[in-house]
């Protein structure tokens, strides 16, 4: 086969296209993979619906708790459902099925049941849709053991992590930061390209300060790291990618090198993911720290409608730069 005929090794895709592509590839690969969700057509999964039809892609009524429960029942009986809840705040409606059933049934049945289900939800904030839609609610689910929780920050990680999640035998909740939807990059076309669950990635190597950035915080963190680099300040940006189980080793190794840690998290400050990471480092790597750990988080206030009120609530590139300078 000539090179011109060969399938290219990579293709350019956006964050959201990568999610659709991952699902299509996995549904092609394994007929046990099915999709459930509301208004699939308008949330990017219309392509899946068209391609696989209504026996593989189930367009649901607005009944979050029960269609999540049905996905759990289907998972226990041989299917591998993906549930697209569209907005992550809608997961609140389905907490009984996600937390009390999906996360617990393998354990509570002494290993008899497997629940290979993926729940997807978009973190849809900084868009003037006010408090009820805008929550970055992953910390609440982090407190429910039994779930695996992923939060990809690049199209490549989206594709690779979602595919790993679909192939995993445990329930996985994926939070998709909508501020990353339009990000584009080259990503592998290999249908077996996977990003492992539970493995962090250093997105920007450095030696002076470690920044651990969660989900959409990756964007301002990388911009800040690049700006500081021009001033000779070397920032290491770590992307956990998986929030549960956390890759503690990569974070601790980075802090061992830099001695300084800033954790950036758009979730509300109390008991957020940054709090967990700060606690892990304080407990396990206190000896490495040259300065106190700093968390940059959304304060404990509801997300307001007015953009002028909302925008300042999330850690910005400038706030990150100022904080890094303070730590040095």
């Amino acid at each position: 086969m000539s090179e011109t005929q060969a399938k290219p090794a990579t293709t350019r895709m956006s964050f959201i296209e990568a999610a659709v592509q991952a699902q299509i590839e996995e549904m092609e690969r394994d007929e046990r993979v099915i999709l459930l969700g509301e208004d699939l057509d308008i949330y990017g999964d219309g392509k899946v619906l068209q391609r696989f039809g209504s026996r593989r892609a189930w367009n649901t009524p607005i009944s979050e708790n029960s269609f999540c429960g049905m996905a759990v029942g289907a998972a226990m009986t041989g299917m591998r459902p993906i549930v697209n809840l569209s907005i992550a705040s809608f997961m609140y409606l389905a907490c009984d099925q996600i937390i009390n059933q999906a996360s617990k049934l393998h354990f509570m049945t002494g290993g008899q049941m497997k629940v290979p289900v993926v729940f997807r939800g978009a973190l849809y904030y900084n868009s003037s849709i006010a408090a009820q839609h805008s929550d970055r609610c992953y910390p609440m689910f982090m407190n429910a053991p039994g779930l695996k929780i992923i939060a990809p920050t690049s199209p490549k990680d989206m594709k690779g992590l979602l595919k790993s999640a679909i192939r995993d035998d445990d329930p996985v909740v994926m939070f998709e930061d909508s501020t990353l939807w339009t990000l584009k990059e080259e990503l592998p076309t290999d249908p077996d390209f996977l990003v492992p669950i539970g493995k962090a990635e250093v997105k920007h190597p450095g030696t002076d300060v470690t920044i651990v950035a969660i989900a959409g915080c990756m964007k301002p963190a990388l911009l800040a790291a690049k700006a500081l680099q021009e001033d000779g300040i070397s920032v290491e940006v770590v992307d956990p990618r998986t929030l549960v189980p956390l890759d503690r080793e990569t974070i601790i190794c980075s802090v061992a090198k830099t001695g300084r840690l800033i954790v950036i998290d758009n979730a509300h400050r109390t008991c957020n993911c940054a709090a967990e990471i700060a606690a892990v480092v304080a407990e396990e790597a206190f000896e490495s720290l040259k300065k106190p750990i700093i968390r940059l988080s959304t304060p404990d206030v509801h997300i307001p409608f007015s953009p002028v009120l909302e925008k300042p609530l999330y850690p910005s590139k400038d706030a990150i730069i100022t904080t890094v300078r303070k730590l040095l």
Partner: protein
């Protein structure tokens, strides 16, 4: 029915003696509804149930040893001591689990039915739930989805008249629960839950319908629990049900007593019935012996069964307790 009755009588005794920890919800009085429904199912059909979880697995054919060992929190328990009294599951006979969250098991059974439909098998799902659960959102949401997708699922309500202490009459805008089916465009039936053969017949016709691809059915079996909501539960103030009412059900509506004349009429002899009673008693006694002699789980193994595929788990940390 005999096995359930004997299991529950002995279980109650063991609970009072402190040999069974936690809470104990006995199914005594509801055996006809449970067994009549399970008789209409195959081993590869699926059920989900409730916190009153001992009768359903026995009715579906689970072995008693693992159930009794589970109640005692032993490592040989069907759920390895992780589930206990309210959560008996046995995948070998299609019991997906018993949800102690009221109404929680309803969508699971419909999901199993969706799975059967997607896989192209003729299996059905049946979910047991109480009168209280018919006020949960999952009941209404799932009936609706099962209807639009014609899922092979049977919604089986064991209406024992009381959600703990709250009567159906005082908590249901439409206390005839079977009539709620109409709102979702599916058939609804009511049946005397104390008559095991009547329950079997109505369930069998719903199962046949589901296997033919014609969709779900709601069945309301009117039944009664002879014991308190849970063993040892004390209530204050005015009793929520009168002792005359309880006596009336125990005397005149015991599913075992009501079935005996039917058995005799069909040619089964007194001595054969007695042999069955003895066999049930012996099976329960063997299960108790097995459970009592079984080892307890190792505390260090507590993390087992958290994940099918554990990653970085359990994490080692300085504050670790175990």
């Amino acid at each position: 029915m005999l096995r359930i009755r004997k299991f529950e009588e002995e279980g109650t005794r063991l609970y009072k003696e402190g040999q069974i920890p936690g809470a104990y919800h006995a199914s005594i009085g509801q055996e006809g509804a449970i067994v009549g429904a399970c008789m209409a199912l195959r081993d590869d059909d699926y059920i989900t149930g409730t916190h009153r979880s001992h009768g359903h697995p026995i009715g579906k054919g689970a072995k008693l040893d693992g159930l009794m060992a589970e109640l005692m929190g032993k490592v040989t328990g069907i759920c390895k001591g992780r589930g206990g009294s309210m959560h008996l599951a046995d995948s070998s006979v299609g019991i997906l689990g018993e949800s102690a969250i009221v109404g929680g098991g309803i969508p699971l059974a419909a999901g199993a039915a969706l799975s059967a439909k997607a896989r192209g098998t003729d299996q059905v799902g049946l979910t047991f739930f109480g009168d209280g659960a018919s006020n949960q959102g999952t009941f209404h949401e799932t009936l609706n989805m099962a209807s639009i997708w014609k899922l092979p699922v049977i919604f089986f309500c064991e209406n024992n008249r009381y959600a703990v202490t709250t009567s159906a009459a005082s908590s249901h805008g439409q206390p005839e629960i079977w009539k709620r089916a109409q709102g979702y465009g599916i058939p609804g039936h009511t049946v005397d839950g104390q008559r095991v053969l009547a329950v079997y017949e109505v369930t069998q016709s719903a199962v046949d319908r589901a296997r033919r691809g014609e969709g779900p059915t709601l069945i309301e079996a009117k039944t009664y629990r002879f014991d308190e909501h849970q063993v040892g539960l004390s209530t204050h103030g005015e009793p929520y049900r009168s002792s005359e009412e309880v006596r009336n059900y125990v005397r005149n509506h015991d599913p075992l007593r009501l079935f005996k004349p039917e058995l005799l009429k069909s040619g089964v002899t007194e001595s054969e019935i007695q042999a069955m009673e003895e066999e049930a008693g012996e099976a329960v006694a063997r299960a108790i012996e097995f459970a009592q002699q079984s080892p307890l789980p190792e505390p260090g193994d507590v993390y087992q069964y958290m994940y099918v595929n554990p990653i970085n788990y359990p994490p080692l940390h300085r504050g670790a307790l175990t």
